[in-house]
């Protein structure tokens, strides 16, 4: 199978085949932990790391493992990567590790990771597989962080609260209070808000896609200048 160009991989991961808002994979963590930016960022980083590691490992062993046992092998690889990530987070961001709780081990069951391992990494060389893992993780992470920012802003009127959980004590002052005296809009932080805002993001993406398609169609349909009209009635004497 021919390896797709890196530009195409980038476009696919970030926009055309975005794991979160096009493939709609990994919705459980997407909906559950995007209550604020720091949680979203933490989970996004962990998922990206796991995705890159598992894609690389799967690509390395792709010619050794037979098709019949490939899925159990992939799951083992992913589970090991997740365990490593969990230990890393325990070591460097313990409070965030506690907040994310069950959603860190649950990365193992995130369909994006198994999907990319089976659909891409097991068929391509190591470098493109690693890049695909990184860019897919980035695409997932961007949606996660955007959703987290949107919900944190509407829910609390502030942004980047509690960033010290991820970036050390210096980040404690990063909190931006955009609206003083804001009435917390609890719905945005509660699970229904996650569904509503994910839906709105998907709608927004489709709107942009539709707009682009209409513009391309309009460009295509322009008639060629100087085209001859075909005479269909009468005769030329």
């Amino acid at each position: 199978m021919s390896t797709p160009a890196y530009s195409e991989l980038t476009l696919n991961g970030l926009w055309k085949n975005n794991p979160a808002i096009v493939q709609l994979l990994g919705l459980c963590p997407l909906l559950a932990v995007t209550g604020n930016v720091v949680n979203a960022l933490g989970l996004a980083a962990a998922t990206t790391l796991v995705l890159a590691c598992s894609n690389t490992a799967v690509s390395v062993i792709r010619n050794v493992v037979s098709d019949a046992v490939r899925l159990p092998v992939f799951v083992m690889i992913i589970a090991s990567a997740v365990t490593c990530t969990e230990l890393l987070m325990q070591a460097f961001a313990f409070e965030l590790y506690q907040i994310l709780g069950i959603f860190l081990p649950l990365i193992t069951t995130n369909c994006v990771i198994l999907g990319r391992a089976d659909a891409f990494a097991s068929k391509h060389a190591v470098a493109p597989a690693l890049y695909d893992g990184l860019i897919m993780g980035l695409g997932f992470g961007v949606v996660l962080v955007l959703l987290g920012a949107l919900r944190e802003l509407l829910g609390t009127g502030a942004l980047f609260a509690d960033m010290q959980l991820l970036f050390g004590p210096a980040a404690a002052s990063w909190k931006l209070v955009l609206i003083d005296d804001y009435q917390p809009f609890l719905l945005a932080v509660l699970p229904p808000g996650a569904f509503i805002f994910t839906g709105l993001m998907i709608a927004g993406k489709n709107l942009v896609d539709g707009h682009i398609k209409r513009r391309q169609d309009a460009l295509k349909a322009r008639p060629v200048k100087g085209a001859k009209r075909v005479r269909v009635t009468g005769t030329i004497s």
Partner: protein, 342 residues
């Protein structure tokens, strides 16, 4: 609109959508009047502001969807939603609270699903529930009715709505809250010790409910809806209350009459659950639908944690409406019970 050529039967509907909606609006007048009488101009300001925001939201949504403004605004369905929401909200609510609720009702619950006729949930109740779970403090702040405290005038009502920082209202637990929080008092003693209770239910609330009952009966007389859903709801609510009345002990849930004349019972029974779009459609289905709401209202009121239960009960029953319809589909004439020709 293109005219369709249709074959017989050439039955004429008596009412257009707009006429139905206008009669519903008219029928809320006694209820709003009594609310204003007991709680001051807050409700009236709520309703008017909600209508303004609602018309703006509806117009924007229609423009975005490329629909005819004149045709869809004339059916008054947005106005009905906004009036119902404005009545349901506590008086003297700040302007942004009402605006958020109306936007949730019209934009999210109605237009996102495809406009009038396609909404699976009652838009006014969606708006109410969005507000109730988002802003519990503002949503449970009911001012005391006339007779228990000073009732603000029109100017104060406008100030409370548009300049909330300048106006402080005194609020008081509603009779339903008082009963829910009752700890260890016999109903008789609770009645005697708490100023909120009147002859049958709460002061003010009993008359508000009777006024909505009057408006609802007028709609029934005009045949805007059938009696099935409201009667089933009131009957099942009264039955539940009678079953758990407990002789007026300290763990009693309140008498049937108290529940029938408290909170949003009559308003819900005649103005909310009779929504033709989001309720069940068959006759038997409406009976089940109404009865389900009655039972749920009692359950949430007595054992739940929210002040009133009509909005939640209606939304849950809206979920169940297609399911109810599936099992209560009337038999087509000429077909047997198994569905084949009989």
């Amino acid at each position: 609109m293109a005219l369709m050529r249709v074959s017989s039967p050439h039955a004429h509907g008596r009412y257009s959508t707009g006429m139905v909606m206008r009669q519903v609006l008219l029928a809320t007048v006694p209820g709003v009047f009594v609310l204003t009488l007991f709680f001051g101009f807050g409700t009236l300001v709520n309703v008017l502001w909600a209508c303004l925001v609602g018309l703006a939201c509806e117009s924007v949504a229609l423009l975005l969807r490329g629909r005819s403004l004149a045709f869809y605004l004339k059916d008054c369905s947005a106005l009905v939603t906004c009036v119902l929401l404005g009545i349901a909200l506590p008086p003297y609510a700040p302007w942004w609270l009402i605006a958020v609720g109306v936007a949730a009702s019209i934009l999210m619950a109605k237009q996102l699903y495809g406009g009038l006729g396609y909404n699976p949930f009652n838009p006014a109740m969606v708006g109410y529930v969005v507000l109730l779970i988002s802003f519990p403090v503002q949503m449970t702040a009911w001012t005391p009715p006339r007779g228990l405290g000073e009732v603000p005038g029109l100017w104060e009502a406008l100030q409370a709505c548009f300049l909330p920082a300048r106006y402080d209202a005194v609020t008081m637990a509603t009779p339903l809250d008082v009963l829910r929080q009752n700890q260890g008092l016999l109903l008789e003693d609770l009645w005697a010790q708490t100023p909120q209770f009147g002859r049958w239910a709460g002061i003010g609330w009993e008359w508000v409910n009777l006024a909505f009952l009057a408006g609802g009966l007028w709609l029934l007389y005009r045949r805007i809806f059938t009696w099935h859903a409201p009667v089933a709801m009131l009957a099942s609510l009264a039955l539940m209350a009678a079953l758990f009345y407990d002789g007026g002990s300290s763990s009693s849930g309140g008498s049937p009459l108290f529940h029938l004349l408290s909170g949003a019972t009559m308003f819900g029974a005649f103005f909310i659950i009779t929504d033709p779009v989001s309720s069940a459609v068959s006759v038997r289905g409406r009976l089940v639908f109404g009865a389900l709401i009655g039972v749920l209202v009692y359950l949430i009121r007595v054992w739940g944690n929210y002040p009133d239960a009509v909005a939640f009960a209606v939304l849950i029953a809206n979920f169940a409406a297609p399911f109810i319809d599936h099992y209560t589909q009337p038999r087509v004439y000429g077909h047997g019970k198994s569905g084949g020709t009989g």
